[in-house]
Every structure is written in structure tokens, then in C-alpha cells.
């Protein structure tokens, strides 16, 4: 777990999953369905596409709303989560997932202006 926190984790959405296989990423999306075992759930990104998140331990709490997942992308395009973070809907400004998606596109369209790799390794 410590390992993944030291590494730069690009923010991505579903359409970029295939480009980041076996890499650490950060995914923000809205929780859709939680698997009965509690070890898996689906998330929807700002474009309306869905991805599957797998956890190491089953969930202890109810998960709903916007969640930020940090993990690795498996060969099958699923996110193997190391940790997750629920964005509280009762506090602050409501999170605009579509706008977040637009920002994601900008970051990926202009990587020369968003050198995250450099920042993390320094």
C-alpha cells in the first residue's frame, strides 16, 4: 500500500482505463452498484461509462455518492483498489462530475502543461 502512495497516479476516466493497464491510477466516479459480497462495486464516470472496482477486504459501510479510488488497473480493465475516499455530499459545494471529466480531458490533452510525473519524483 505504501508503494502506491509514493508513485504519481494519473487521474483517468473509463475511456482511458485500457491505456493504463498495470499502472497506478486515481479514479473518481459515482457509486452505482455494490456487489453483495461487499468486495466489489461499480462506478460511473463523468461520461456515463462504468468501471468495476475490486477491494482487498469487503466493505464495512454503505457506499454511495462520489468516491475517489486509488489503485492499479488489472489486465481485464478493472480497478484493484488500494484505498478509497468518499466525497461527502452534505458538506461543501456539490461535486460536478461532468465538469471533472472536462478537466480530465484538458489534463490529458495538454500533458506538457501538467507534468505530474516530475512533481511526484522530486
Amino acid at each position: 500500500m505504501a508503494g502506491i502512495l509514493d508513485v504519481p497516479k494519473p487521474r483517468i476516466n473509463c475511456s482511458m482505463l485500457s491505456q493504463f493497464i498495470s499502472r497506478a491510477i486515481c479514479f473518481v466516479g459515482r457509486v452505482e452498484k455494490v456487489h453483495p459480497t461487499g468486495k466489489m462495486f461499480t462506478v460511473m464516470d463523468g461520461e456515463g461509462k462504468t468501471a468495476t472496482v475490486e477491494l482487498n477486504e469487503p466493505l464495512e459501510e454503505e457506499l454511495s455518492g462520489i468516491v475517489e479510488v486509488i489503485g492499479m488497473v488489472s489486465n481485464k480493465g478493472e480497478i484493484m483498489a488500494s484505498t478509497y475516499n468518499l466525497l461527502r455530499e452534505d458538506k461543501g459545494i456539490p461535486f460536478d462530475l461532468e465538469l471533472y471529466n472536462e478537466a480530465l480531458k484538458v489534463i490529458h490533452d495538454f500533458p506538457q502543461h501538467y507534468p505530474f510525473q516530475v512533481a511526484a519524483s522530486g
Binding site: 459545494i93 460536478d96 465538469l99 490533452d109 495538454f110
Partner: protein, 558 residues
């Protein structure tokens, strides 16, 4: 110059449609040709000029010289052979016409015949010339075009006298031209001419266009005078409705502000009619509508006056606007000015294409707006600038104050002298003079009071990524920044200085949206830019993000 073997006459001219013959050297000296069609005009001095409408070369020029021994022809004479004059090439009377040839006595050999007293055909009253070919050097022409725009009658009165005028634009397949009528012609033609109808116009006078007054694409403009005629034309199907050079809405970002453009799009939504009062205390109606085209971009168009009142946006009609003014208001927006022409569901191919696209896919598109539209009225006034822009664009240097909005962080607050004692009267904020006897005098109200109210004048330095700026905040904005009201602050200052300082510490390094006013002020020969905060608001991150993304995208597109 032409000769029929007996006489020569140098007043032959090729009509413009035959210019190619001269350019391609089909008519060379000593070639033999047959004149098939011609028109003879009699000039004021009695000379005759023959305009050749159709001519066939039947024998190319040999190396040999001219046939026969012709002499110059003079009216009414038929002299015997004389020493043959050298057939010179005369400089043409009109730029395009040049002709030299020799004619044998075949068929139409009119140079010798008695010239028929042809009535002065005015360059062919039945011959229409294209609007694009009009120029000040030809006076006998007729054009056929559709009136696309007619202004109202305007009167003027100046040192040289007074008068009235109206103007219109007329278009045909070749182009368009602006036409103005003054005084008597206004009476003659104003009621006759209707927008959308086709007319024959002839004998107007042409001059170089004054581009200041019009965006019509023509180097010349026309004035109708006493000799001009305007005749309605019945057969108008092939005259186009409008000459438009549409710019795609997505392209508008790349155009300069104040440019005049033609646009066409689907009216996706339309606002209610609003009325506002101008600085001249005139009431004017306005209505905003949002136009979208196949680029997927939306732009807000503002209509004024009657057009705003009459506009019906139901059914998402196709709207085309000619000569709309592009402004950088809210990013990019369009305004239909008095010289713009708006057409709803026009009968042109672009409109049908748009309708088809919209019905299939366009209606479901969200569209990305080039104009910042957020709520009613107010936000349309925003003029987002970075603090460096404010300085580099010299905002405030003009006669009037300039207003702009920015997102900036407070980096310094001056807590000394931020409070002053003001007149306690309701609407008076004038500083009172401490009489030192427990009374405070207000000069404005001309009264003394036993008390006063504290008011804030806060001097602050705000900064963004580009630059910083000293600004002055008055009561309301100062209270918003400090998070306390003036009375409480006044009290704290006198009683608990550390608590007072703490408030300023807390207020520092907060980021807000500022709406500022800048103006050049002169104090005793010295001019400085003074900036005042009109309003302070917390940052709306969503709105800010959207704006940033829009700016990034438009910068990226360049």
C-alpha cells in the same frame, strides 16, 4: 478602326462581352470580319459610335496590307480616293474596348451606308448588367436586383442646410451594392420600394463607397438622382434573396471583436423580452436568443427594439443574421445592430442543411456556449481580466471608468486608518468633525450630533497569478472581506487591539471574485489609476472551472 475598303471609321468599340476577342488577339490588324450585330450610338457632338455586339472573323490577317484604299469617313460625305491614311490604332475611349480590323464589302457594310438615325439606345435598356460590374465610368446601365434592406427616412440639419435620406441594399447573383436617395428622391422612391421585392434600377450615379457606414461588399455605392428610374420587376425567381457569407459559430472565437459577420443557426432558446433605460434616459427593448450551428457551439445574440419585440423563437426556427456585430462581451456574443438584417427560416440552402442536421442530431446536443450566460442580466456585464491585463490594456485610461471582474487573493490589508467617524444620519456618510466637546459636526447636514457611526474605507492589495493591484474597499465590500461589521470593528479597535489585529490576520490570503472599477484620477497635476471594489463575492468554483476550461480550449484551438 475598321474599313470597308472604301472608308475607315475609328469609332468602333467592342462590347464588354466580346473583350475576350481583343485579349486573345482574335482581332488583329488586317483581318477580315463580318459584323453580325451592332448598336449605333450618337454622341452629343454628332459623332457616331458603333458598339459591336457580335462579330465573326472570316479571314485571318495575311502578311499583306489593307485591302483597297480607304479614306476616313465623314458624315454625309463620300469623297473620292485620297492618299490612304495610315490605319493607326486609336487609344480606346473606354478601358476595355479595343478593336482593329478590316472589313470587306460583304453583308453588313454599314460604314458606307447612310447611318440610320437610330434612337439613342441607352446601352440596351433591356440589357441588364451585373451589380458587380457597376462603376462610375459608365452611366448607361440597368441592374435588376432584390432589395434586402431598407432604412427608415433620416433627416439631418447642419450648417450647410438640412435634408433627408434613406438607404437600402440591393443584391443580385453577382453581388450587392448600397443605394442612397436624398431629398426629392426620398419622396419619389421611399414608398415604392419594398424589402424583398425585385426592381430594375437604372441611371444612378456611382462613387467610391464610404466603408464607414456600411459593410456591404462593393467598392462603390450608388446614389439615385433625378434621372434615375426604379421599375418593379415581376419575374424575380432567379434573383437571390440575400448575399451572405456565413461564418460558423465555432469560428467566431477566432474573429476580432467589433467585426461585422453574417451568421446562421438554429435558435435553440430565447429569453423573455426585457426593457432597459439607456444613459440617455431612453427606454429600449431587448431580447437575447441563443443560436447554435453544426460546429456544436452556441452564441448569444442580442436583438433590440422592434426586432426584439416581434421575435418569436417558438419551434426553434433557423435564424440568419447579416451584418451582426461581434463583441467580446461575455467571451463572444453577437448583437443585431440597426444595420443588421435578420431572417427567420430563410429560403436558402444553408437553412435547409441546418434544419436537417438539427432534426437528426443537433437537437440532442448540449452545445458549448461562447457567451457566458448565467442567470439574468447581471452576469452579462462581467468582463473577466487578469490583473496584468488590467494594466496592459490600460483600463480606466479613457474618459469613462472601466469595470472588470477578476479572481484574486488578498495579500495585504491596511488596518491603520481603515475606519472613520461618519455622520449618524441615515443617508449621509460624510466624515464628521470632532468638536472635542462630545459633539460631532457634519458639514453636509449642517448639524451637530452627540454620536457618530463607524464606516470602513479599507485599502487592500490583491493579487492573482499575473500581477497585483492596490484597491479601495468601501463599507459593504470591506465588511464582506473582514467578516465583521464596521461598528463592531470600531469598538474592537478601541478596546481590544489584539482581537482587532486577529480579524485582519484571518481575512488575509482569502480568495474572492472582485468586481472592480478603475479610473484615471488627477490630483494637482498628478494622474493615477484608482481602483475601487464595487463588489466582493466568494469564488464559484464550478463557474470558474467552466470558464478556465473554455479559455484553455479556445487557446488550444488557435
Amino acid at each position: 478602326m475598321m474599313s470597308d475598303g472604301r472608308h475607315t471609321l475609328s469609332s468602333f468599340m467592342l462590347s464588354t462581352q466580346l473583350n475576350y476577342m481583343a485579349e486573345e488577339n482574335l482581332l488583329v490588324p488586317n483581318c477580315v470580319c463580318v459584323l453580325k450585330r451592332q448598336v449605333t450610338n450618337v454622341l452629343k457632338d454628332g459623332r457616331r459610335v458603333v458598339i459591336i455586339l457580335e462579330i465573326d472573323v472570316i479571314k485571318p490577317a495575311d502578311a499583306s496590307d489593307k485591302i483597297g484604299d480607304p479614306i476616313p469617313y465623314s458624315d454625309g460625305q463620300s469623297k473620292g480616293p485620297q492618299p490612304a491614311p495610315v490605319p493607326e490604332s486609336r487609344p480606346p475611349l473606354q478601358p476595355q474596348n479595343r478593336n482593329e480590323g478590316v472589313d470587306t464589302n460583304l453583308k453588313r457594310n454599314f460604314a458606307k451606308k447612310i447611318p440610320s438615325a437610330l434612337p439613342d439606345t441607352p446601352g440596351g435598356s433591356s440589357k441588364i448588367v451585373p451589380i458587380a460590374s457597376l462603376n462610375p465610368y459608365q452611366s448607361k446601365w440597368t441592374i435588376r436586383g432584390r432589395v434586402t434592406n431598407k432604412s427608415s427616412v433620416r433627416t439631418w440639419s447642419n450648417a450647410r442646410g438640412e435634408g433627408k435620406l434613406f438607404s437600402m441594399e440591393i443584391v443580385d447573383e453577382s453581388g450587392e451594392i448600397r443605394v442612397t436617395c436624398f431629398n426629392q428622391e426620398v419622396d419619389k422612391f421611399f414608398s415604392l420600394i419594398e424589402v424583398g421585392k425585385v426592381y430594375y434600377v437604372s441611371k444612378g450615379s456611382l462613387k467610391i463607397a464610404n466603408k464607414q457606414y456600411t459593410s456591404v461588399k462593393n467598392d462603390y455605392e450608388m446614389t439615385l438622382n433625378g434621372e434615375s428610374t426604379v421599375i418593379p420587376c415581376e419575374d424575380s425567381c432567379d434573383v437571390p434573396m440575400m448575399q451572405c457569407d456565413f461564418v460558423s459559430i465555432g469560428d467566431l472565437e477566432n474573429r476580432e471583436k467589433d467585426a461585422i459577420v453574417d451568421v446562421i443557426g438554429v435558435c435553440k432558446s430565447v429569453d423573455e423580452l426585457t426593457r432597459l433605460t439607456t444613459k440617455a434616459n431612453r427606454e429600449v427593448s431587448k431580447r437575447a436568443l441563443s443560436l447554435m450551428d453544426m460546429s456544436g457551439k452556441l452564441v448569444t445574440v442580442t436583438l433590440w427594439g422592434e426586432e426584439a419585440e416581434k421575435f418569436d423563437g417558438s419551434g426553434q426556427p433557423i435564424v440568419a443574421i447579416k451584418a451582426a456585430k461581434l463583441s467580446d462581451f461575455g467571451g463572444r456574443s453577437l448583437s443585431a445592430s440597426f444595420s443588421s438584417t435578420m431572417m427567420i427560416n430563410p429560403d436558402i440552402p444553408e437553412a435547409y442543411k441546418l434544419r436537417g442536421w438539427f432534426d437528426k442530431e443537433g437537437h440532442a446536443m448540449e452545445g458549448q456556449s461562447l457567451t457566458e450566460v448565467r442567470g439574468a442580466g447581471r452576469s452579462l456585464l462581467e468582463n473577466w481580466k487578469s490583473l496584468a491585463d488590467v494594466k496592459s490594456e490600460h483600463l480606466g485610461h479613457g474618459d469613462k471608468a472601466d469595470y472588470y471582474s477578476c479572481i484574486a487573493t488578498i495579500v495585504f490589508l491596511r488596518k491603520e486608518n481603515c475606519l472613520y467617524q461618519a455622520c449618524p444620519s441615515q443617508d449621509c456618510n460624510k466624515k464628521v468633525v470632532d468638536q472635542q466637546n462630545g459633539m460631532f459636526r457634519c458639514e453636509k447636514c449642517d448639524k451637530e450630533f452627540p454620536n457618530f457611526k463607524y464606516r470602513l474605507i479599507l485599502s487592500a492589495n490583491i493579487a492573482d497569478h499575473a500581477d497585483n493591484q492596490w484597491v479601495t474597499c468601501f463599507q459593504d465590500s470591506a465588511e464582506a472581506i473582514l467578516g465583521q461589521n464596521a461598528a463592531y470593528l470600531g469598538q474592537l479597535k478601541d478596546s481590544n487591539e489584539s482581537a482587532f489585529d486577529e480579524i485582519f490576520q484571518q481575512a488575509n490570503f482569502n480568495t474572492f471574485i472582485f468586481r472592480n472599477r478603475v479610473k484615471l484620477e488627477t490630483y494637482n497635476d498628478e494622474s493615477r489609476i484608482k481602483a475601487t471594489v464595487m463588489e466582493v463575492k466568494p469564488v464559484d468554483h464550478r463557474d470558474y472551472s467552466k470558464r478556465l476550461i473554455m479559455n484553455i480550449r479556445s487557446m488550444g484551438a488557435k
